[in-house]
C-alpha cells in the first residue's frame, strides 16, 4: 500500500502542470467507465489524461461489492477479451466465486464473484498508474470547450477546469460522470446535491452545457443503495448459508487461478423479509420523498420500498454479502432504501437474522441526469458534437459491467476519430486533395463498419445497439434474453469472438494475450476437426462407452462430435478411450464439449446473423432532414425517422412503424441526391 502511494504521487501530476498541454484523449470521471476508457485509449496508443475528483476513489465499488452474474458475467468476459481491466481485477479481488445457472446450459452460465473493495481499488489503481501514455490528475471539470463545426454541428476541443486551473486541450473527450451529472441524494425527506455519499457534488456546469450549449436531450433517472450493516450485529444462524464454488473459476482468459485460494473464500447468507418490513415501508411513505417521485426507477433493481409496494404480501429475498476479507461490514443485497435512517434501522430489525443489527451508513437514493442515448452513434460519440464521447450511467445504463463494456468501444473509436481528426483539420487548408482526404477520413471516423460491434457479435454490441437505436426509459441492465444470438455469444468463447479482431483490427489487445488466444483457437479447431473425422459404428461406440445411451437403430457411422452431443458423454471419456487421438486436447475438454453441443444450433443462427449484418452495413447519412424530404413517406414514418435518426438501413428496418416501402424510397432518394452532387462536384473540379 505504501508503495502504491509513492507511485501515485509520482505518476499523478498537479492539475496546473497539465494545463496548456494538448492530449489526444481526456477522460472525465474515474469510475469504472472512466478507468476502462483511459486504459483502453492508452492501449491503442493515445496520449491520455484522466481527470477525477479524488485519485483514491479510482476503482471504488460505490454500490454492491460484486461482479458478474447472469448476463453481466458475459460482459465481464467480453471486456476481458478486449484486454480490459475488469476481469483481471475481479480475479484479484474476488472472495467468493460461483457460476450461476450452472444447470441451465453453458450459453447462459453467469460467472459471478463477491469482491473485496479494497483489493479491487488497489488493483485498478496499480494497473492504471503504471500505464505508459496515461496521466491522472485530481480536479473538477467545469465545462467543455466547444467550437462550431460544419452545418450546425459542434466540435469539442478540450475541457475547462474548475478552481482557475485553466483549460486542457484534447482531440477527444470522454465523459463518464456516472450519477454525478446534476446528481441529488435522497434520505427520508432530505435532499442534497451529489452523486455519491461523502463526496462533493460536481458537474453542474457540464450538465448545463450539454443541455443548453449543445442542445442535447437529457432525462432523469434514479437508483439507490442499501444501508451497510455491522457484521458482528448479525445473527447468521438465522440465515441460510450459501457457499461459493469449491473450485473458483477466474473471469479472465489469462488467469488460471484466482488470487483468493479456494479454501479462503467467504460465504454469503440468504434471508427473507417479513410482513413487518412491509408495515414499516407503508408507515414511512410520508417521510420518503424519493419513492414518492415518479422519476423512472429500475424495475429489476428496485428499492425494497417499491418491491413491497408492487408485490405486497410476499417474502422477498435479502442476500447478506461480505464487503471484503477484512471488512467489518455486510452489504444487504435487495434492501436499497431511502427512508429516514431511524426507520431504516427499524425496518432491518423486522428481519429475524437482523433483529439486533446496527447500521454503519444508511441507504440513500440518487437521482441524476442522463443523456438520451439515441443521440449517440453506435460508437458512442454524440452525433452533433465531433470528438465528444459518453459512456457509463450517463447513457442510462446501470451496473459496473455495463459501464466498463461501453467504454471498450468508446476508446477504440476515440482513437479512430483522432486519426481522422488530423486530416479533417488539414481539410481547411483549401486544397482539393485535402478535402477529399478529409471526406474519406471523416467517413472512416464516422462509419467504420468493421469497428462497430454488431449485435450478432457480442453482448457489448447488443447493449450499444439497444441503447442508441431504442433509447432507454429506465436504467438499462444486461440480460441474456436481450441477445437474440445468445447460443453463439457465450461466455466461454468471448476470446475467440473478440480477442483476435481486438488485436488485428483494433489494436487494443496485448500481443501476449493475442498469441494465447490464437493458440486456443487453433487447438479448438484441430480438436473439432479430429472429432468430426473420427467416426465409428454405434455398435463400436457402445462397446467403448458403456454409460452412453446410443440408439440401436442408427446404422450410419457416428462421429466423435455427435457422441459429445450426448449429455452423458464428456470429452474426458473420449480421451480416455482413444488417448492417441484426443488426449492432446484435454486442456480444453470443457470448451470442446460446449462447442460440439452448440455448433449445429449456431450454424442455424448464422443465416439470420448474416442477414442482420448485411442490413447494418448499409449506412444512412446522419443529416437527412426527414421532415422535408421530397419523397413519398407518410408523416408517421417521417416523424419516427426524424426522432430516431437510424444510422443504418438495418436499424431503420427494425423501427416499429417504418414500412419496407419507406426504406426503399429513402435509399433511392439518397442515392439520387448523391449522384447529383457528385456530378456537380466533378464539374467544378475541371473548371
Amino acid at each position: 500500500m505504501l508503495q502504491l502511494r509513492r507511485l501515485l504521487s509520482y505518476r499523478s501530476q498537479r492539475a496546473s502542470d497539465v494545463a496548456q498541454h494538448k492530449y489526444d484523449v481526456v477522460v472525465v470521471g474515474g469510475g469504472h467507465a472512466g478507468t476502462e476508457a483511459a486504459a483502453a485509449a492508452t492501449r491503442v496508443g493515445a496520449e491520455t489524461l484522466l481527470v477525477t475528483q479524488k485519485i483514491e476513489t479510482i476503482g471504488a465499488l460505490s454500490c454492491n461489492p460484486s461482479l458478474g452474474g447472469v448476463g453481466k458475467g458475459q460482459l465481464v468476459k467480453e471486456v476481458d477479451a478486449l484486454d480490459g481491466l475488469m476481469g483481471r481485477a475481479g480475479d484479484y479481488a474476488g472472495v467468493h466465486f460461483s457460476i450461476l445457472n450452472r444447470s441451465k446450459g453453458p450459453a447462459v452460465w453467469g460467472p459471478r464473484a463477491q469482491l473485496d473493495r479494497g483489493r479491487y481499488r488497489e488493483f485498478i489503481q496499480s494497473q492504471l498508474l503504471k500505464m505508459p501514455r496515461l496521466t491522472v490528475i485530481e480536479g473538477s471539470v467545469e465545462d467543455l470547450i466547444v467550437s462550431a463545426a460544419d452545418s450546425g454541428k459542434h466540435r469539442v476541443t478540450g475541457v475547462r477546469m474548475a478552481d482557475g486551473v485553466g483549460e486542457i486541450l484534447a482531440h477527444s473527450v470522454v465523459i463518464t460522470t456516472g450519477t454525478f451529472l446534476s446528481g441529488s441524494l435522497f434520505v427520508g425527506r432530505t435532499t442534497s446535491p451529489g452523486g455519491r455519499m461523502g463526496e462533493p457534488p460536481s458537474c453542474a456546469g457540464l450538465s448545463r452545457s450539454l443541455k443548453e450549449v449543445l442542445g442535447l436531450k437529457l432525462g432523469r433517472m434514479r437508483t439507490g443503495t442499501p444501508p451497510r450493516i455491522i457484521k458482528d450485529t448479525i445473527d447468521f444462524s438465522l440465515a441460510k448459508l450459501h457457499l461459493p464454488d469449491p473450485q473458483p473459476t477466474p473471469f479472465s482468459f489469462v488467469n488460471r487461478h484466482t488470487h483468493c485460494k479456494p479454501e479462503d473464500q467467504l460465504p454469503c447468507h440468504l434471508t427473507y423479509t417479513t410482513p413487518g418490513v412491509e408495515k414499516v415501508v407503508r408507515e414511512s411513505l410520508h417521510v420518503n420523498s424519493h419513492i414518492q417521485q415518479d422519476t423512472k426507477g429500475p424495475r429489476y433493481c428496485p428499492s425494497i420500498e417499491s418491491r413491497v409496494l408492487r408485490f405486497p404480501g410476499r417474502q422477498h429475498q435479502v442476500w447478506l454479502e461480505p464487503e471484503g476479507l477484512t471488512s467489518d461490514l455486510v452489504y444487504p443485497q435487495g434492501m436499497s432504501m431511502t427512508m429516514p435512517p431511524e426507520l431504516q434501522l427499524r425496518l432491518l430489525r423486522e428481519i429475524p437474522a437482523l433483529h439486533r443489527a446496527e447500521i454503519r451508513t444508511p441507504g440513500y437514493g440518487v437521482q441524476y441526469d442522463y443523456v438520451c442515448p439515441m443521440q449517440l452513434f453506435p460508437w458512442l460519440q454524440v452525433k452533433c458534437v465531433q470528438g465528444l464521447f459518453l459512456a457509463g450511467q450517463i447513457n442510462g445504463t446501470t451496473g459496473y459491467e455495463e459501464a466498463a463494456a461501453q467504454v471498450q468501444n468508446t476508446s477504440l473509436f476515440t482513437v479512430q476519430q483522432l486519426c481522422g481528426g488530423h486530416v479533417i483539420c488539414s481539410r481547411s487548408s483549401v486544397s482539393f486533395q485535402g478535402l477529399w482526404a478529409g471526406v474519406n477520413a471523416g467517413r472512416t471516423a464516422l462509419s467504420l463498419p468493421p469497428m462497430s460491434l454488431s449485435r450478432t457479435e457480442s453482448y457489448i454490441g447488443v447493449m450499444i445497439n439497444d441503447l442508441v437505436s431504442r433509447g432507454v426509459t429506465e436504467p438499462y441492465r444486461m440480460f441474456t434474453s436481450r441477445a437474440e444470438f445468445r447460443t453463439s455469444l457465450r461466455p466461454d468463447n468471448a476470446d475467440l469472438r473478440l480477442t483476435l479482431p481486438g488485436f488485428e483490427e483494433v489494436g487494443c489487445v496485448s500481443s501476449q494475450r493475442y498469441s494465447e488466444a490464437l493458440r486456443v483457437s487453433r487447438c479448438l479447431s484441430e480438436a473439432l476437426i479430429a472429432l468430426q473425422s473420427f467416426a465409428l459404428s454405434s455398435q463400436h461406440w457402445r462397446e467403448k462407452l458403456r454409460h452412453a445411451r446410443i440408439s440401436e437403430a442408427k446404422s450410419t457411422l457416428i462421429s466423435g462430435e455427435e457422441m459429445l452431443q450426448h449429455k452423458e458423454v464428456s470429452f474426458e471419456m473420449l480421451a480416455s478411450v482413444f488417448p492417441e487421438t484426443f488426449a492432446q486436447y484435454l486442456e480444453f475438454s470443457q470448451r470442446i464439449k460446449i462447442e460440439a453441443v452448440y455448433r449445429p444450433h449456431c450454424e442455424n443462427q448464422k443465416r439470420e446473423m448474416e442477414r442482420i449484418q448485411e442490413e447494418e452495413s448499409l449506412t444512412l447519412p446522419p443529416d437527412i432532414d426527414y421532415l422535408s424530404l421530397p419523397v413519398s413517406l407518410s408523416n408517421e414514418v417521417r416523424e419516427i425517422l426524424d426522432r430516431v435518426r437510424p444510422d443504418t438501413l438495418g436499424a431503420a428496418t427494425r423501427l416499429p412503424g417504418v414500412t419496407p416501402a419507406a426504406i426503399v424510397h429513402l435509399l433511392n432518394y439518397v442515392s439520387k441526391t448523391e449522384r447529383k452532387t457528385a456530378s456537380k462536384r466533378t464539374h467544378t473540379d475541371f473548371t
Partner: protein, 517 residues
Amino acid sequence: MALAGCWRIALYKNVTRPRVYLRCPVVFGRACPVRPVCSRPAPGFEDTIFALSSGRGRCGVAVVRVSGPDATGAVRALTGLKRALIPRTALLRNITHPASKELLDRGLVLWFPGPHSFTGEDSAEFHIHGGPAVINGVLQALGSLPGLRPAEAGEFTRRAFHAGKLDLTEVEGLGDLIHAETEAQRRQALRQMAGDLGRLYNDWSQHLKHCLAHVEAFIDFSEGELIEDGVLNQVDTAVSKLQVEIQTHLSDERRGERLRSGVHVVIAGSTNAGKSSLFNLLCQRPAAIVSPIAGTTRDVVETPLDIGGFPVLLSDTAGLRETDDSVEREGVQRALKRVEVADLTLVVVDSTQLPQEPRMVPGFLNDYLNNVLPKKMEQGHVQQCLLIINKSDLLPNEHMSIIQRALSDAFTAAAVSILSCSTGAGLTDFLKMLQERVKTMCADPLVGSPSLTQTRHRTNLQKSIEALSQYHKYRDVDLALAAEGLRLGLTCLGRITGKVGTEEILDVIFRDFCIGK
C-alpha cells in the same frame, strides 16, 4: 455540407458495391472456430426462398420463383430431373409433389444459375397454370422441402439489391410494387386479424410469448431471486397444449384442402334417378354410362371440373338401394362413404317417384334426404347439399308448378332445384346455385383473398410446431437451447401475426415476477 457529402459517398459506395464494405474478415461472432472465416456469407448460408411472383388471383399462367442455394434441389425434387440443368432454357416437365408424388401440374421450368440471375443467387422459375389449386399445390410442395421458406415481402428485391444486381433507380421502379404488396398484405392481415383466425393465431402468439418469458425469467433471474420452480412445469404443459392445438388446426383445416384438391361434390340418390345423366351433363361428355336399367353405375366415377372458376372434383355414385348383388352392394357402400366425405352432396330425385298429392312432397323429400345422407352428421351436413328434382319433363307443366308452390310454402332441409337432364330445362338456375355454393366454400370471407397467405400460414405453423419440439428435447439438458426452440416457434408465429420483440418479453417477466436483484 462536406460532411453530408462524405455520408452520401459512404452510402453510394455501399449501395453499388456492397461486397467491398461488408465487414471484412470479422472473426467477431464466429462461435465455431472450425468454419473458415469468409468476408461474405457464402451462398450456402442463406435460406432459399420461394413465392408466387405473378399476380394473385386466377390467371392463365402463374410464375413461382425460387432463389437461394437449394434452388437446384427444389427443381430436381419437383421435376424429377436427373441430368444437368440447362441455364435459361424453358423445359416442359411434369411437376409433382416430392413426397406424395402426386402430379400437380405440367409446366415450364427455367433455371438461372447465380450470379447471372435477378437475385444473383441460383434461381428457378416454374411457369404453371394459374389456378389457385395448382399454385397452392406447388407452393405447398416447395414449402415441404428442407431449407426452403416462403419469401418475406420484397425479399427477392432485397437480395438482388444486396448482391449489387439492382441499381437504385431500378429499385425505385420496384418500390411502388413493394408498396402495393405490403399495403395489400396489411389490408389482408387486418381483415384476418379481425376474424377468428387472426384471433386464434394471436392467442397462440400470446401464450407462447408468455411461455418464453417464463423460461427467460427462469434463466436470467432464478439464481438469487424468487422464481418458483413450478414455473417450468407450467411451461411444459402450456407448450404441449399449444403443439396439440396447432396440429389439430393444421389437420382439420378444410378450406386449404379444398383449394388445393378441389371441392368434393358427390351426386347421390336412389337408383335410376338420373344421377349419371346429371354427371354427364355437368362434365359435358358421356363420362358415365347411362341406361334405363336400375343399378347401372356400380363404382364411383370421378372427374375434375371447373365451376365458375373454382376447382371441383365431381363424383357419380351407385344408386342407393337394398340389393343381393354383392358387387352392387359394394358400390352402394362406396357411394355412402363418398357422401360422408363430400363437401357438397347433390341429392337427385326422380320427379315421377314423387307422391301424387303435392302436400306430401316436402315430407317425402325430407325422408329421402335422411335416407341418402349419413345419419351421424345430419345437422351439419344438411346445409351442404342440394336437392335436385330430375326428369321434370316427364310431368305435366301444371303439376310441376303445383309442386314448386308446395315446396316454397313448406320447409325442406335443403335448397331444391328442378331440372330435366334430357331437355336441359332449369339447368341455368341450377348451375348458378351450384356455383354460388362452391364459391362460398372456397372463398370464406375470413380467409380473404386466398391461398398464398394460407400456404404461408401453413408452412410457418408447421415450422413453429417443429421448433416447439426442440423445447421438450432440451428442457432438462440445456435450458438455453430449449428457450431457443420457443423463440424460434414464436418467430414463426410472428411471421403471421406480427413480430414479438425482446422488450415485450421483458415486460411480461417484470409483470409476473418480482425481480429484486
